[in-house]
């Protein structure tokens, strides 16, 4: 497994590292227990909604740092509407690719950026908190990357059933019994769904 030169450059000399004092929006995703965590801070022009400045802090591996670096580069100067559309695939492409097993790092960086934008929108009355539904669960599962191929488990049609009843989220995933990433995928699903206050219990069948 090898990183591209661009990943190494952004890892060794990341852009936009640090914290902004009095940011207009901020968000943190991931946790030390998940192995990676990214915080993003933004200054946004109130009239144009353009991202004037953006900084990040990262607890994570080389690709985590590199993706946070590139995503903040990509977002800077864009309006929040434009920045919202940046996908994790674009972030990975911008880095000349990431190994499949590292794709989840770009998902985390993009997710943090989107959450920071949402934070700004809510603070400025531009959006409301999302309503919870099974669609939200499916949207969240699109952030769970199958490390063997570096694609999400929804696009790969590995998710066979998603349900939500009485506070319990039910997810059925098709994954070979001896797959080395089986536990990792289950753990990732859990970590992604745990953040919804509506979900009290998670049942994963494989």
């Amino acid at each position: 497994m090898q990183y591209s030169q661009k990943v190494l450059d952004h890892f060794m000399h990341p852009h936009n590292v640090g914290k902004l004092e009095n940011p207009d929006a901020e968000a943190t995703e991931g946790s030390p227990a998940c192995g990676d965590q990214v915080s993003i801070f933004m200054k946004v022009d109130e009239n144009t909604h353009k991202i004037q400045d953006v900084k990040f802090l990262s607890y994570g591996c080389a690709s985590n740092i590199a993706t946070a670096s590139i995503i903040t580069d990509m977002a800077k100067g864009k309006t929040i509407e434009e920045a919202k559309k940046i996908t994790w695939k674009e972030a990975a492409e911008e880095l000349d690719g990431l190994p499949p097993v590292k794709m989840h790092c770009s998902v985390l960086a993009v997710d943090t950026l989107r959450k920071a934008i949402k934070d700004y929108e809510i603070k400025h009355g531009l959006a409301e908190e999302d309503k919870f539904s099974t669609d939200k669960i499916i949207e969240e599962l699109k952030k769970v990357i199958y490390p063997n191929v570096g694609e999400d488990i929804v696009s790969l049609k590995m998710v066979k059933y998603v349900g939500f009843k009485d506070g319990t989220a039910i997810v059925d995933v098709e994954i070979p019994k001896f797959d080395k990433y089986r536990d990792n995928v289950a753990e990732e699903i859990r970590e992604h769904l745990e953040k919804f206050k509506e979900i009290k219990d998670i049942k994963i069948t494989m």
């Binding site: 190494l8 030390p32 192995g35 607890y59 994570g60 591996c61 080389a62 690709s63 985590n64 080395k180």
Partner: protein, 389 residues
């Protein structure tokens, strides 16, 4: 850029003398052992000499040594061979949650075939729970397995005490030891330590890759695990590189001719490394014990608030090779199972770096490494949302 190598637990540089000792067996003496022909008899006599030399280093006899194609092969021949030949006496195995993967995957394999396994826990420093061991012994326990010097933390398991506990049972419980990290670094006497089966890998102590040996105490019966033609050994059937065996023999010779001096030097270097890191870098946690209960070559240390793959890569980009227990660098994206079992948090396991030294390392290399490491840790902490100091 000069390469500084602290990954000797993974594999170590073959000593130049080892390579020299191998060459004649690649160029001229490439034969397999055999009877009644000069070529075969010469090789057979060399192999016998090698066995005698190796046996003497562990207090064994030459006919108790089997050449194998490495440590994992020796582990498989021993575990599968012993359990298949002795299942009629019982089907219970004891090992620990922190054992080397060879032992754990074999235990899991036998669990699926109807055996029961007790996995002992380990304490903060990596010593297995001896009270639990005593309680785990059952009339049907036939095998105890352990990793003499733990591959992650260097913790040396107290085999003498274990021997006494196992002796309290009113039946024989065989002891299989994975000594791949321990051999040539710790004095091992199979009789004093109560070892019945022991695996050793040559490339961990400056021998060639693809060769090792299994110690099988006389009277311990092993079923045939590898079927096939007997070329060199009756358990490791098929061919084994004679040049590799000769290289291993040389590596043994080099390790034991200055055994105390070598191990003392490595111990001093690793203690120097640890002292310098702890003096200069705050917020670290040593994984494994301090002092003589730790293998001399191993320093495993967690750097808080940062992640190990990033540390490892930055060191690598500065020419320093070491290992990490981070999930990001592991095959299944899981944090190091040994460190987690010793009560480290995810964060502490992710932030761990393992240095395994050899006699080829120098103080200058360590000074350079600690200087770089101090900068790397400072840089990564300045990027970390967890660090507010």
């Amino acid at each position: 850029m000069k390469k500084i190598y602290f990954n000797n637990c993974l594999t170590s540089k073959p000593a130049p003398e080892v390579v020299d000792a191998m060459l004649p067996y690649l160029k001229e003496n490439f034969y397999f052992p055999g009877n009644f022909i000069e070529t075969g008899e010469t090789i057979a006599s060399h192999l016998q000499d090698f066995k005698e030399k190796i046996a003497a280093t562990i207090g064994a006899k030459a006919n108790e040594i089997h050449f194998t194609t490495g440590g994992t092969s020796a582990n498989n021949i021993a575990i599968k061979g012993y359990l298949s030949a002795n299942a009629h006496k019982g089907t219970h195995i004891i090992c620990s949650v922190i054992d080397y993967p060879d032992l754990l995957t074999n235990a899991a394999f036998f669990e699926q075939s109807g055996f029961e396994v007790t996995y002992l826990n380990a304490d903060w420093d990596g010593f297995i729970d001896l009270n639990q061991l005593e309680k785990a012994i059952r009339p049907d326990t036939i095998l105890f397995m352990t990793t003499l010097a733990n591959h992650t933390t260097g913790t040396i398991q107290p085999l003498r005490e274990i021997k006494d506990i196992l002796a309290k049972a009113d039946h024989k419980i065989a002891v299989h030891v994975d000594a791949c990290e321990a051999y040539a670094r710790l004095p091992i006497n199979v009789n004093e330590l109560g070892i019945d089966l022991m695996s050793v890998s040559a490339h961990k102590f400056h021998g060639p890759q693809g060769v090792g040996f299994l110690y099988q105490r006389k009277g311990i019966v092993l079923g045939q695990f590898k079927h096939g033609i007997r070329r060199i050994d009756n358990l490791e059937t098929g061919g084994i590189s004679i040049a590799a065996i000769a290289g291993m023999n040389k590596a043994v010779e080099l390790a034991f001719e200055n055994f105390e001096e070598n191990t003392k030097k490595i111990k001093e270097l690793s203690q120097y490394l640890l002292r310098k890191i702890e003096e200069r870098i705050p917020h670290t946690i040593l994984n494994g014990p301090r002092g003589d209960k730790r293998a001399p070559h191993n320093i495993n240390i967690s750097f808080e608030f940062i992640e190990g793959e990033a540390i490892m890569m930055m060191m690598d980009l500065n020419g320093i090779s070491a290992d990490t227990g981070s999930a990001c660098a592991s095959e299944g994206l899981k944090p190091n199972y040994v460190l987690m079992a010793l009560g480290r948090t995810h964060e502490q396991s992710h932030g761990s770096i393992k240095f395994t030294l050899s006699r080829y390392n120098t103080r200058e290399e360590i000074d350079y490494t600690v200087n770089k490491l101090e900068q790397i840790v400072r840089e990564l902490r300045s990027r970390s949302p967890l660090y507010n100091k």
